[in-house]
Structures are given as structure tokens and as C-alpha cells.
Amino acid sequence: MKRLLPALLLGAALAVAGAAPAADAPAQPALKAGVLSPVMPAPLLALDGTDGKPLNLAAYRGKVVLLAFGFSNCGEVCPITLATLAGARKKLADAAKDVQVVYVTVDPERDTAAQMKKYLANFDASFVGGVGTRAQIDAAQKSYGISSKKIVGADGGYTVGHSSSIYMIDRAGGLRAVMPYGHPVDDFVHDLKILLRT
């Protein structure tokens, strides 16, 4: 019996370990995006829209707004972000009518309203761009904590490095969540379905 005791105790330890609560699958956070709490009003923008009207975020109350910053000559980040947002709207089908994508330029020197409108239409004709003077764009960036930096190339041309997260504004105009760059379409669909329900 004495010789059996260590084996019995070891077996008991393994049984305890195995019988521990299944902690491997705790409840998932509600949103895939980073969530702000308490929700505060999304800063308004004093910009021109590519739809020919002043860009007024308050006019989109009742819709979920996906707000991002970029520029039409962007070769890396913006095409992926815009294609992802267009893909999410497509997957939402009828519910997409309550989702408005707003894309604000960080390159006001090159992005005119016409240029931005044409660029955004490549992804989804419903997307609205935000343009303005350098001072207006700087103010918009500051209000959301967006950083951008002009990077001049050897040929004298330039690109702009910029923050690439997507801000999620709920139907009441509250800045509810921030989705970091790189999330797939399904993560947006997941979060938008939740935001559209509330």
C-alpha cells in the first residue's frame, strides 16, 4: 500500500488539474475593437464633404459612422482599409444603409474634393470624404489624436505616414470604439451588428 501511495497522490493531483473549471474559453469581449468608457461625444469636424456639403458628423445621427484618416495617393494602408470597410458594408447587405464611412484626408495639398470623391468611389460610392485647408485638417487630426508625417522621397515626391485606426461612432454620436488597423472584414461586421442594435 505504501508503494502505491505516491502513485495514488500523483493521480489525485492530475485529477484535480483535469477537473479544474474549463477556463480555456472565458466570455469574449463584446466588441473586437477597443472600447471607450464612458462614451463621450465624438468631436465634430469643420471640413468640407466630398458630397458638396459641409461635413457635419451630427447629420449622421441615427447611423453608425466609421471615421478614418488617409489620403488618395496612399499606396499601402488606405486601399486596404477602404476595401475592408467596403467589404463590411457589402456583407451587411440591407443594414449597410445605416452605416456611413467618412474618410478625412491627411494630405490637403493634393486631395481636392473632386480627387477624393473619385478615389473613394473606387471602393464604395456611398463613402464621404472630408477635405479642407491645412489648418482645418490639423484641427480635425488633433481632435482625434491622429498623427501624420510627410515623407519626401528621392524623386522629390512625397508620401504621408499617418495613424490608421478606424473610429466607430454610435447612432447617438458617441465615440464608442476604435478598431486598430489590420482587422478583417468579419471583425467589422461583428462590431457593426452590435453597434447597429444599440
Partner: protein
């Protein structure tokens, strides 16, 4: 004391502990890993205090503590990554992939915070290593 009894006393408890540490599922009360920006952080920065209040490098583990929860208890807004945290506001950012992320952070003297997201420990030796780090770091 008999030789067998010494064996029990010296070897069995650590062996049982190791067995438990290697096989029991890793469970924390919450998956949130909380960091607070204390009141007065901005004032300390402005007075030239260079002491880091928050760690500049944070490690999260998928499925265990994979949600970064940042709370701004300071009197002024603080920026973390793409987000401005107003006084009293918190930001809860979940991670789902192994990654190394750098965020701008105004609460750090260096201006950046690195968040490393590690895979969930599955094998016994991984669980033992995770527990060792968690308890003794």
C-alpha cells in the same frame, strides 16, 4: 523517520505542485490587464520628473489576460495609440493574435509603450513557465 517518509516529505509536495502547475488550466478572474495613469502624471512630466509610471513593455497572453485596460485617472487628457483618453475615461483593447505592438503614449517618458501578445500556453512546461513568471515576476 523512515527513509520512505523522508521521500514523501521532500519530493512529493514539489512533484504534486509541478504536476498541478503543468496540467491545470490557467485561469484568472478577468482577462483584463489593468493599467492606470495616476492623477498628477501630466504635472509630474511638466515638472521634469522622468520616472516612468507605467511599464514601457507589457506582455499579454492570449486566452488568459489578452485585454489591455487603460484607465486615465489624471486631470488632463492622455493619448494612447490612436485614442485620446479623457480624464476618468478608460480604453479596453482586446487582442486576438500573437503580435508586438507599439503605441504612442503620453504617459510614458519615452512616448511609446510596447504591447507583446503571446500565444496561450498549451503544453505543461509552457504552463509552468507562465505560472512562474506570473507569480514571481
Amino acid at each position: 523517520m523512515k527513509r520512505g517518509a523522508w521521500w514523501f516529505v521532500a519530493v512529493l509536495p514539489p512533484l504534486l505542485a509541478l504536476t498541478w502547475a503543468g496540467f491545470a488550466p490557467i485561469e484568472l478572474p478577468t482577462r483584463d490587464k489593468l493599467f492606470e495613469i495616476p492623477k498628477g502624471t501630466y504635472a509630474r512630466r511638466m515638472s521634469g520628473d522622468r520616472v516612468d509610471i507605467l511599464p514601457s513593455r507589457i506582455t499579454l497572453t492570449l486566452g488568459v489576460d489578452d485585454v489591455l485596460l487603460l484607465r486615465n485617472l489624471d486631470d488632463v487628457p492622455q493619448q494612447f495609440g490612436p485614442t485620446i483618453l479623457m480624464p476618468g475615461q478608460s480604453f479596453r483593447l482586446p487582442f486576438e493574435r500573437e503580435s508586438e505592438n507599439q503605441f504612442d503614449c503620453t504617459a510614458h517618458t519615452s512616448g511609446t509603450m510596447t504591447v507583446i501578445v503571446e500565444a496561450r500556453p498549451e503544453w505543461p512546461w509552457q504552463k509552468i513557465r507562465w505560472r512562474w513568471r506570473h507569480w514571481f515576476r
